[in-house]
């Protein structure tokens, strides 16, 4: 599903560029649950941003299925991302002034789905994630765990092929973290490819494969 070939990411600095990722060769198959680990500054989030097609400023090749992401124009790249990728963030990044239902609706609204259809999908997702009773609450009225559940639901509501999660349990206590990881596992078993960045060995064990980065290099799997 994903193939990175000799991928490098650098930022221009003086006297020489600073490399964030070096010669990454990586293949992720459809239906995998991959964990990216490594110390701070290793390049985990950078790799995640490239995988999520938020960042196209790199060298090397990035193939998503048969699509050469590295060769796509920014507009085409974001169109592809919109139809294939979902994101879960450490800080949840729910919009404070939108209700739970409105937060879930937001990604759908960017995909030109008719309003009636969107309402049905949101209702179905609320039900699936056991949040029907909370649909009219605002994020600040939810616990951290509940907010992350909404964030996960929002990430998968448009049925992405690839779910990317950046430290999804970083702000949660262990019990809440475990629940989120089980949710990822369930989604993975349903066919969604999951790539998560985490520092937690315990969370990594929920996945099927661990990739380790250090100073931008892929050191081992």
């Amino acid at each position: 599903m994903i193939r990175l070939v000799n991928l490098e990411k650098a930022i221009p600095t003086r006297p020489s560029p600073t490399y964030l990722l070096r010669r990454i060769d990586l293949t992720i198959g459809a239906g995998e649950f991959v964990t990216i680990m490594g110390p701070s500054g290793a390049g985990k989030s950078t790799l995640l941003a490239i995988l999520g097609m938020l960042d196209g400023e790199h060298t090397g090749e990035y193939w998503f299925g048969d699509d050469p992401v590295h060769a796509l124009a920014p507009k085409a790249r974001s169109t592809l991302a919109r139809s294939t990728v979902g994101f879960v963030f450490q800080q949840y990044h729910l919009l404070d002034e939108l209700t739970v239902a409105e937060n879930l609706d937001m990604p759908l609204s960017y995909r030109n789905i008719p309003s009636s259809e969107r309402q049905a999908i949101v209702a179905d997702t609320l039900d699936r994630f056991h949040m029907v009773g909370k649909k009219d609450l605002f994020p600040r009225q939810l616990s951290g765990g509940q907010q992350q559940v909404v964030a996960v639901a929002r990430a998968v509501i448009a049925q992405p092929k690839l779910l990317l999660a950046d430290e999804p349990t970083g702000n949660l206590h262990s019990e809440q973290g475990r629940e989120i990881m089980e949710l990822f596992q369930t989604l993975n078993r349903g066919g969604t490819t999951v790539v998560q960045v985490t520092h937690s060995e315990e969370n990594a064990r929920f996945g099927s494969r661990i990739i380790r980065l250090k100073d931008g290099w892929l050191v081992r799997e």
Binding site: S45, L48, A49, G52, L54, D55, S78, A81, R82, F87, F89, Q90, Q91, H93, L95, D96, E97, M106, P107, Y110, R111, R140, R154, A158, D166, E167, G170
Partner: protein, 805 residues
């Protein structure tokens, strides 16, 4: 005290850390307060300050109430005035004067270039009735207002200073006026400009003999002012004057029919004329500019305050009470507002003389326009009002609900800040739409007014004015000889197409109010007083002004016989007097003279562009000789190229003849619309300023919103929002707020815009096309102002959400 100075120092230090912000707020407030204070200075000086007379509330103008023309002031004949003075008991004194702008002049010679001075003819009781004294010397006494003793003159302060170099020994000296020596009695104070600001000298009214104006009961030319007796109201006085003029109308029906009702009004109304409504509208307009400036400054303060939430939260965590924090923020805004008010007052002080110069000749009492303690108080009150808007609300909002979230991330304020900012945006859009509606209406009105077909062509015409008065011109045929000689010389100048003249220039007022008695078979069948009056003109007058001759002929040099007076009538008069018949050859009487219509010309706007073209009659100036002589020379090419040739032609005949207003007629015509031009220019400046401030405000609100919403926009983009979606989101929110404000502004204008009605020419204050244009212009500007920062929003890197982790 020490705490206060420390707090002030801290506030100044805090503002110095953001000098750009402080300067923008300071400049915005200074602009708003300065403009408002300057206009208020004009309003106070012209409308609100007491007139420079003793107990001015006792002074009234006395006139007639006519069923066809309403209140008429200046309609007393000398005989009627004498009867009024003899019979009036409700007044401690009454006095008469005569002054018509452009007509009431006297020629000054022996003081360099001959000069035509604006002269008011006043009776010996006028100054004592008004309760004014000279600043140097004394005023005209009743004894000096009598034949044989009346070669005396009182000077205006402005004339004394500008023309006579403020000569301290002027009193007692002699000036040559109309070729005769006049002793200078005194100089009036600068504030005394009665009855008009352009008056340069006051002369005894007894100088006006029958040669200048007939002293018969039917010829009405005197203005009358009176001082009410203590305890008497204007209404009581009006009843008494009404009884007197009614009695005169019964006693002298031949001359006084229809002049049987009185009109008595406070003198202030006459002096201020019709400037109250435009000045009030200007004050409202400039107040709106100030409000927009305050809203802009309030938003800047709010944005700054919300940006300091973390700092305030830290202060709160360290023990600062909310009132202390609010106090600190209020002190900072107070410093800015006080600075803005002081700077605004300084700007007003700089601008008021320029404004007064601009308004000279357009507004009354411009010599009195000056900043005084009341104006300073007004600036202070404006500052306090600005402080309430700029300081209080942003301080309360910024220091409200400071919790841990503010301490850690400063979040949670975005939505509240946006709501408030959008509210401010709607508010200033509403104010701007209000002002823009007024601006567009007055602009359209002025355009219509200046594009009225006046009935004549002022281009390419050179004009000049002379006054043939004094002993030299009093001999039989002297004036006519001069006019003929001059017009003949002018016609010979290469490039001149036609040279004509008249007593009065078009658009500057009506003709003389002669009654035309229509006759048939020797009997009078009807009497018509042409609405525009009777005008005295020379041959080639109509050709020089390109007034179309519709039938018959123009006047000829041979038209000099009173026995069969040739008259040319306007189309409207022809239709009124002889409907359906050929007017040429029709007979009637003007006074005792038998007259015949020899021609018909197109209608002309005599009293001004805004006034309708009324019926008019024209008689030869050679027969109805008058001292005032306006010359119109139609030329080929630029009128300016003929100015020196015209001056030379006059000098060849009479080197001492003062020439006034020599130049393109177009310039004179423009002067007749100087008041609406000034009003429109000022409203236009305020409208443009409002639009600019609103656009800057909207830009600021949206730019601030974009910078505060970077996280939200990043999330949206990370979740799939396209650039265009983000732009639409940002611009849409701003436009929605602007549209709400515009709609409210429009509704308010529809409800209150009637205040402008009196300033509009052939326009309704609810003109749908222009009222639709105002919000469209504003929303287009709002779109642009929002689109620029929205583009920046669309460039937010969605990776920002990962970097926040």
């Amino acid at each position: 005290m020490r705490f206060g100075s420390q707090a002030l120092r801290r506030a100044l230090r805090s503002l110095a850390r953001t000098p750009g912000f402080a300067l923008v707020v300071l400049a915005t407030l200074a602009l708003g307060i300065g403009a408002t204070t300057a206009i208020f200075t004009v309003v106070r000086s012209v409308l609100l300050r007491d007139l420079p007379f003793e107990q001015p509330d006792q002074l009234v103008d006395i006139g007639h109430l006519r069923p066809d023309r309403g209140a008429v002031f200046g309609g007393f004949s000398p005989q009627d005035f004498d009867d009024l003075r003899a019979g009036a008991s409700k007044f401690t004194s009454v006095a008469s004067y005569f002054y018509t702008p452009g007509i009431g002049t006297t020629n000054l010679t022996g003081q360099g270039e001959p000069l035509s001075l604006a002269a008011a003819m006043v009776d010996g009781r006028l100054f004592s009735t008004l309760g004014v004294a000279a600043s140097h010397g004394r005023v005209i006494s009743p004894q000096e207002d009598a034949p044989g003793a009346n070669q005396v003159v009182v000077l205006s302060d402005a004339f004394w200073r500008r023309r006579l170099g403020a000569d301290p020994a002027i009193v007692g000296r002699t000036l040559q006026l109309d070729g005769r020596p006049f002793q200078v009695l005194g100089v009036m104070p600068p504030s005394f400009t009665f009855p008009a600001s352009e008056v340069q000298v006051w002369l005894p009214i007894s100088l006006l003999t029958d040669a200048e104006v007939p002293h018969i009961r039917g010829v009405r030319w005197m203005n009358v002012v009176g001082r009410l007796a203590p305890g008497i109201t204007a209404a009581q006085a009006e009843r008494e004057v009404g009884d007197i003029v009614a009695r005169l109308a019964r006693s002298y029906p031949e001359s006084n029919e229809g002049w049987n009702r009185a009109a008595v009004q406070p003198i202030a109304i006459g002096i201020m004329g019709d400037v109250r409504a435009p000045l009030t509208a200007l004050l409202v307009a400039v107040a709106l500019v100030l409000l927009i400036a305050c809203v802009n400054a309030a938003h800047l303060m709010l944005a700054r305050g919300l940006g300091r939430r973390k700092e305030l939260a830290i202060r709160a965590a360290l023990g600062a009470s909310r009132s202390r924090l609010v106090g600190q923020l209020l002190l900072e805004s107070g410093v800015l507002v006080a600075g803005g008010a002081a700077l605004g007052l300084f700007l007003a002080w700089l601008g008021v003389p320029a404004l007064a110069a601009l308004a000279a000749g357009v507004l009354p009492r411009t010599g009195e326009i000056a900043i005084d303690s009341v104006v300073v108080g007004f600036a202070f009150v404006s500052g306090v009002a600005a402080f309430l808007i700029v300081g209080v609300m942003p301080a309360l909002r910024s220091a409200g609900r400071l919790g841990n979230r503010s301490l850690v991330e400063g979040r949670g304020q975005t939505a509240m800040g946006n709501r408030l900012a959008n509210g401010l945006l709607a508010l200033e859009t509403g104010f701007a739409v209000l002002l823009l509606c007024g601006t567009l209406l007055t602009l359209a009105s002025l355009w219509k007014l200046t594009h009225v077909d006046a009935g004549f062509r002022a281009e390419p015409v050179v004009s000049m004015r002379m006054v043939l008065q004094g002993e030299r011109w009093s001999g039989p045929g002297a004036s006519e000889n001069f006019r003929r000689q001059l017009l003949s010389r002018l016609a010979d100048i290469p490039g001149v197409v036609a040279a004509g003249g008249s007593k009065r220039a078009p658009l500057t007022g009506g003709g003389e109010p002669y009654a035309l008695k229509l006759t048939r078979n020797g009997g009078i069948i009807d009497t018509i007083t042409p609405g525009a009056g009777v005008f005295m003109v020379t041959p080639a007058y109509f050709a020089s002004l390109s007034i179309p001759l519709l039938a018959g002929r123009e006047f000829l040099p041979a038209d000099t016989s009173r026995q069969l007076l040739p008259v040319i009538v306007s189309r409207a008069l022809a239709a009124q007097a002889w409907p359906g018949a050929d007017p040429v050859g029709q007979s009637f009487q003007v006074g005792p003279a038998a007259a015949t219509v020899v021609g018909v010309v197109a209608d002309v706007h005599a009293r001004g562009l805004a006034m309708p073209a009324e019926p008019a009659a024209y008689v030869p100036l050679a027969i109805f000789s008058r001292s005032s002589f306006n010359v119109f020379v139609k030329v080929t090419g630029s009128p300016l190229g003929y100015v020196s040739a015209l001056r030379a032609a006059v000098r060849e005949i009479d080197p001492d003849m003062p020439i006034s207003d020599l130049g393109p007629l177009r310039t004179q015509i423009q002067a007749t619309t100087s008041q609406p031009r000034l009003f429109t220019m000022l409203i236009g400046v305020f409208g443009a300023t409002a639009l600019l401030l609103a656009v800057l405000g909207i830009y600021g609100v949206v730019a601030q919103g974009v910078s505060q919403r970077q996280r939200e926009i990043g999330i949206r983009m990370a979740l799939g929002a396209r650039s265009v979606t983000v732009v639409r989101l940002v611009v849409g929110a701003a436009l929605t707020a602007a549209a709400v404000g515009a709609a409210v502004g429009l509704v308010v204008f529809l409800l209150a815009g009637g205040v402008l009605r009196s300033q509009l020419y052939q326009m309704e204050s609810g003109d749908p096309l222009l009222l639709a244009l105002a919000p469209i212009v504003l929303l287009a500007a709002a779109w642009l102002a929002a689109w620029l920062p929205a583009r920046r929003a669309a460039r937010v890197d969605p990776m920002i959400v990962l970097r926040i982790e």
